[in-house]
Amino acid sequence: MAMIERTEWYDLLRATNWTPKYVTEDELFPEEMSGHRGIPIEDWETYDEPYKVTYPEYVEIQREKDAGAYSVKAALARDKFLERADPGWISILQAHYGALALAEYGAIVGEARMARFSKAPGNRNMATFGMMDETRHAQLQLFFPHANCKLDRKWDWAHKALHTNEWAALAGRHFFEDIIHSRDAISMGIMLTFAFETGFTNMQFLGLAADAAEAGDHTFSSLISSIQTDESRHAQQGGPMVKLLVEKGMKADAQRLIDIAFWRSWKLFSVLTGPMMDYYTPMEHRSQSFKEFMQEWIVGQFERSILDMGLDKPWYWDQFLRDLDETHHGMHLGVWYWRPTVWWNPRAGVNPDEREWLEEKYPGWNDTFGKCWDVIIDNLVNDRVEQTLPETLPLVCNMSNIPIVGTPADGWNVKDYPLKYKDRLYHFGSEPDRWCFEQEPERYADHLSFVDRFLAGMMEPMDLSGALKYMSLAPGEIGEDAYGLAWADIYKEMAHKKAG
């Protein structure tokens, strides 16, 4: 058909700002929702979205993508992959869907904020497609796991998790609601699309897709790599915002938003994606270690993209690079130990050959994290399972809302970073977490972490059973060791041989 090329008429799609007469411009774009920062509207009109798509192109491409993802699901439905999948892999799926399906849905609010309140017409159009994309991601990531509800009650958490006060769900909400829902359109555009989606979604949706393909889960692999094709498009909305802020002498503002969002994203991934990649994925299916993925997608690509924008690496960059060797091992240890408090079954992932792999990827692992596992293994070998289960709660960070961890044993560096603000003592897991709080204390001040709530008497009775009730976790939903502790048998045999 002889249709006119998009480039000829595309600009008319963006010629949509007008001067209001019956209300004021400030009423139409309130600063607290819009975040225009006093930059004149004409300057916002120079915003040029790097990725351009029109409505007819969008509905055609997306229809085709969905046809692909749904047909893979349909074709493989009879394959019953889950029946032969490693229990660790099933835990990955349950953790992933629970943490992300409704978070993706929540991202609609952020895209909608740009679509309504951004003064840049091109941004408003792309965000309209962004709203559609996030609808897609939520619906796909609800529809796919729903088919598994009949297998195990934990699958219910794909929908349920973020509605609960389960600690990881609470941490997820605190993070997403900080960088998305409670920010103006421009801050949110920079924090969500530029700082989070540019790098971190690659980790979750491409890194994990590689592992999924290795593990033979082609349904999940094709699903999440298809999602990433949308992410990589709408993630580009933040770039031109950063560029404009830098041009207008507001580099420090952009830098601060990115530094907060980047650190917070990293902490969330250290508890979610790190354990999945280095412990839950069966060793033979790991395409790279978590650290290697991080180095490729975050350190390599993201670092380049921030420098290209004229920004600096976040001030804590060296610490971040060091933490790549450490944080997620501590998180994993904590999640496994507190396994009744999650909606999936953590896989320990510390068989002798796995420990060898960990030592190779993270030199020194055996002398640090390995020593904690030695104690756990010793307890399991000697049938003291109760000593591998929690009776209390961990100290939780008032920013990341996840446990405060560090390196144990020979590399001991576990430390609380406290801060007194208006007569309340807050606890943080790191200097950057505390720094995030200090940037805008009133944004976070009256929020109670999971442990704060426990201490405030919001959980009855005041023990683990009360905490589980508060988290809406009942037997059948609460996490157990992915193999029912059978992985420790090899250590029992070893101990036997040694004794014999």
């Binding site: 058909m1 002889a2 249709m3 006119i4 000829e8 008429w9 008319l12 010629a15 949509t16 007008w18 007469k21 019956y22 209300v23 009423e27 139409l28 409505y55 007819p56 509905v59 055609e60 997306q62 229809r63 969905d66 749904y70 409704l102 849905y105 929540g106 609010v109 895209e111 909608a112 679509a115 309504r116 408003r124 965000a127 309209t128 559609m132 609808t135 897609r136 939520a138 619906q139 609800l142 529809f143 729903h146 509800c149 009650r153 219910d156 929908h159 509605h163 605190h174 609601e177 900080d178 829902h181 409670s182 009133e442 944004r443 976070y444 059973s465 009942a474 037997p475 059948g476 609460i478």
Partner: protein, 329 residues
């Protein structure tokens, strides 16, 4: 854990749908109860209670005078999900592309008379502003709605509004090729801001865009502005096109009406649900009383500029009033 011996059994669907007797549809599985910010009535977001955005959502959503115990019971009568939306609209776009292509091949734009070309420049192509305003307003409703099923309808409505903007932008450029001196692609903003025909719509649009209460926003945009756009632009302008040998415009408007009628179906369903709480009748009626005069003013001013204006005005006003009557508020 030994205190609670009962182990939860797997269910056939999400626990929140399990009590329903019918097997859930794809729509229900993927659309219902997805907003988590309604769970704590005093604090929408996990941030400080006094944070601006928490206060905004408390004021304009949680404390709206439009109240219902559970907005999550709302269902889109068309039960559209993302996947079916794209199938449906890709089909419609294929149709529109073929319309544009066929009329282009027949040199349609050369055949329309000069007087109508002038009308198009003033009354048609500036519509991209009002269409874009609908896109923006739908995005507001999507972010402030108290139920995911309402957000989804608003999201699709926003995309549809962008669809109308896209058709209009395309036609604006195409008309400019045949009629380079008529101001296509040049003067739309001026007409929108200055031409008397648009001032009613502009006033209604601007004021409706800052009606922040979610219920009032829905009322002003979906129950007044959108029906006014449908009555005056999609119907009366389209009809005037047919009488001025601009069949293409009539057919384009008809196609957009398919979207508009779907929007009215979901809007009517939401009004019906709201009326399950009898106190909402007065709330909605007050809002309609406030916004309808602006709607009537918009269609009157706009239709007054159409050929056969007297008939256009009375038809558009009657359509707008009928639309309200059908809503029962």
């Amino acid at each position: 854990m030994s205190e609670s011996p009962e182990v939860l059994k797997p269910l056939k669907t999400w626990s929140h749908l399990a009590k329903n007797r019918r097997r859930p549809s794809e729509y229900e599985i993927t659309s219902v109860r997805l907003h988590t910010s309604m769970n704590n009535p005093d604090k929408p977001w996990e941030m400080d209670t006094n944070l601006h955005m928490n206060q905004w959502y408390l004021k304009y959503r949680n404390h709206s005078p439009l109240r219902l115990e559970d907005w999550d019971t709302y269902r889109d009568p068309d039960a559209i999900v993302y996947r079916t939306y794209n199938i449906m609209q890709d089909g419609q776009e294929t149709y529109v592309k073929s319309l544009l292509d066929q009329f282009n091949e027949r040199e349609h734009d050369k055949a329309i008379d000069t007087e109508w070309v002038g009308k198009l420049a003033i009354l048609y192509t500036p519509a991209r502003y009002v269409f874009h305003a609908l896109q923006m307003s739908s995005a507001y409703l999507a972010q402030i709605a108290p139920a995911s099923t309402i957000t989804n309808c608003s999201t699709f409505q926003g995309a549809d509004s962008h669809r109308w903007l896209t058709h209009t932008a395309y036609r604006t450029y195409e008309l400019s090729l045949t009629h380079p001196d008529a101001g296509f692609g040049q003067n739309e903003r001026k007409h929108w801001e200055e031409d008397e025909a648009w001032q009613g719509f502009r006033e209604l649009t601007e004021k409706a865009m800052i009606a922040w209460d979610w219920g009032e926003s829905f009322c002003a945009i979906n129950l007044v502005l959108k029906p006014a756009v449908e009555a005056a632009i999609l119907h009366q302008l389209g009809e005037a096109g047919r009488h001025s040998s601009d069949t293409l415009l009539g057919m384009l408007c008809d196609n957009q009406c398919r979207d508009s009628e779907r929007h009215m179906r979901w809007s009517k369903a939401l009004v019906e649900l709201a009326l399950e709480n009898s106190e909402n009748k007065a709330v909605l009626t007050d809002w309609m009383d406030k916004w309808m005069p602006l709607g009537i003013n918009a269609v009157e001013k706009y239709c007054a500029a159409l050929p056969d204006s007297a008939e256009a005005i009375s038809n558009a006003k009657a359509a707008l009033e009928k639309s309200r009557e059908n809503l029962g508020v």
